[in-house]
């Protein structure tokens, strides 16, 4: 028998759910129109006003919001509530060195906490569980999002954050953790380290793992479930929309992620044309937040590629499900849970010695951890007849990338013209990960 955190809303009949969505959509449109000059201008430019939104279908008349819009509004211009009401600020990494900033009112934190608790319950977690939260705490939403949700549920949360794997394993053993939250690749890394330490995951009390912040596959799920001896559940979220807990798989079906439709309206569009696609068709996920106070976003283009289904799920929840993320409609890479745009690496390289070298990013997954190799062509301005000068240069690039993006990489110096040139958009990334 499925258990629910908020049965009334999670199993709301479709018609009632849509009526609720429309009411909330109209109210958020009113709010951004009066409070956010960006939206007022863009609605006016597109010839739409709040009065035009009389059905859910009318959502399609509204313009998209993009990550670029958020960057242009850095830091607070998209906020719909006054700063006195903002109680929390999070941010995601930005391509230009400026992060994407989001603000939460107390009510937003309440909503997020509730939805995260709801997500935990859908994943089979309950009061009495000991949640080992290895998502990073800080500006990144993962750690705190899961933390508050766990507390709301009445579970015990271990706020261990990321890193220091040996200690993580010791604590899981000694504290009797029953639920693990981290990126899927980190879970496999932990399993491997545990093997080295002589710790058998099958003897731990872990029952459920809630994994997100990076794309993964069914094969990887099977591997995690086998090696960690738990149910591996996929969770989805993004700081722009809320953080973790926008959507999650139910443990009953593990068949697509329920997106909490009483707070978010999902659409799938063709990323080229912007036209809405039918259920089942693969395209870019667009989300409209309908209850957020701090920074409501209308038709936010997530750039994540997935599809949407409204089919009945065996868990009884009526909310639509999105399929596993199968890619991005932009060139963003997720490396060990960190969002990386090739342009960020490019701007770091350009800043070194004042040159703009040709470069190629090779992403791979070795021993279940993502690896990033940055190939840089050595032209005459970079070249030296001394080995140590070139090695110092490599180390410097590695360090700057680590400092700016938080990603560990190795730099490989290569001969000029060995990186493939192309007529159109340069190919900057080779992703060898089998996801």
């Amino acid at each position: 028998m499925p258990t629910y955190y908020n049965e009334e809303f999670e199993t709301l009949p479709r018609q009632a759910l849509e009526a609720l969505q429309l009411k909330r959509l109209q109210s958020v449109i009113e709010r951004v129109y009066s409070n956010v000059p960006f939206y007022r201008d863009s609605f006016n430019k597109n010839g739409v006003s709040p009065a035009n939104i009389t059905s859910l279908d009318d959502l399609q008349c509204l313009p998209f919001t993009t990550k670029q819009d958020m960057r242009d509004s850095y830091p607070y211009a998209l906020f719909a509530a006054p700063m006195e009401e903002i109680v929390r600020i999070h941010a995601s990494s930005g391509t230009t060195g400026k992060p994407t900033v989001v603000g939460y009112t107390l009510k937003d934190i309440e909503t997020w906490t509730d939805l995260m608790a709801r997500s935990f319950v859908a994943a089979g977690v309950h009061k009495g569980d000991i949640i080992h939260n290895a998502y990073g705490y800080g500006l990144f939403t993962g750690g705190l999002g899961a933390h508050y949700g766990a507390e709301r549920l009445g579970a015990s949360v271990i706020p261990i954050s990321g890193g220091n794997t040996k200690r993580q394993i010791m604590i899981m053993q000694d504290f009797g953790s029953t639920v693990l939250t981290c990126t899927p690749s980190y879970s496999l890394f932990m399993a491997e380290e545990a093997g080295v330490e002589g710790v058998d995951f099958k003897k731990l009390k872990l029952r459920v793992g809630i994994f997100g912040a990076e794309p993964w596959s069914e094969e990887m799920r099977r591997e995690i479930e086998e090696k960690l001896n738990l149910d591996a559940i996929d969770i989805y979220g993004l700081s722009e929309i809320m953080g973790p807990g926008v959507a999650i798989e139910c443990i009953e079906a593990k068949q697509g992620l329920h997106i909490w439709e009483d707070h978010f309206i999902p659409e799938i569009i063709n990323p080229e044309t912007g036209k809405r696609l039918a259920p089942g068709e693969k395209g870019e996920l667009v989300i409209t937040t309908i209850t957020k106070q701090g920074i409501p976003l209308i038709r936010y283009r997530t750039r994540d590629i997935t599809s949407l289904t409204y089919d009945t799920c065996k868990c009884g929840r009526t909310h639509a499900r999105i399929a596993r993320m199968s890619g991005r409609s932009d060139d963003m890479l997720i490396i060990r849970g960190v969002n990386v745009f090739p342009s960020q690496i490019e701007s770091i390289l350009v800043g070194i010695e004042g040159v703009e070298p040709h470069y190629l990013l090779i992403v791979d997954r070795k021993d279940n951890l993502d690896t990033l190799q940055v190939q840089v062509e050595v032209d005459e301005r970079l070249f030296s007849d001394e080995v140590k000068v070139l090695q110092v240069l490599s180390r410097r690039i590695e360090k700057e990338i680590k400092d700016m993006l938080g990603v560990t990489c190795t730099v490989k110096l290569v001969e000029p013209k060995t990186i493939q040139r192309s007529e159109g958009k340069a190919k900057r990334v080779v992703d060898n990960r089998k996801l």
């Binding site: 070249f383 007849d385 070139l390 090695q391 110096l413 001969e415």
Partner: protein, 143 residues
């Protein structure tokens, strides 16, 4: 007193060194001395050749990264202790050697050691004051 050396960036992959020597051979460039410094990813090939401009032009034409560096060629007696005598002088003069390589003259009793110093002028005057003979570039290129 200085000699021009050319340095070539070579990725550590099979056939690259052969490619460089083939290009130089076809262009009629003769190699007088060479040294290869390598790491796991790349190598730096350093050459003294009879025709620098030709070597640079054909290698650049094939897309190689090439640079010119001034080095110092010092003659030492081709006998036990020959190298030690010169290193002793450099050490007592606190002169740092970035790298070095040697070859033996075809005729005569001397070996030639090619040095790259961080302070070239200071090295030259120190060596000269101790009576070491440094070869002019033209002599070396045409050896």
């Amino acid at each position: 007193m200085k000699v021009e050396q050319i340095s070539i960036f070579i990725e550590n992959k099979s056939g690259r060194l052969a490619e460089v020597s083939r290009i130089l051979g076809e262009a009629g460039v003769n190699i007088r001395a060479l040294s290869l410094a390598d790491t796991s990813d790349f190598g730096i090939l350093r050459l003294i050749v009879n025709d620098r401009e030709q070597a640079i032009s054909v290698l650049k034409g094939k897309g190689f990264t090439v640079s010119k560096t001034e080095v110092v060629a010092v003659e030492v007696p081709d006998q036990p202790g020959g190298l030690a005598s010169i290193l002793q002088v450099l050490d007592s003069g606190s002169i740092n050697v970035e790298y070095m390589y040697a070859f033996v003259e075809r005729c005569g009793d001397n070996a030639v050691i090619i040095f790259r110093f961080d302070e070239t002028e200071k090295a030259i005057s120190t060596l000269a004051s101790k009576g070491f003979n440094m070869l002019e570039g033209e002599r070396l290129y045409g050896m």
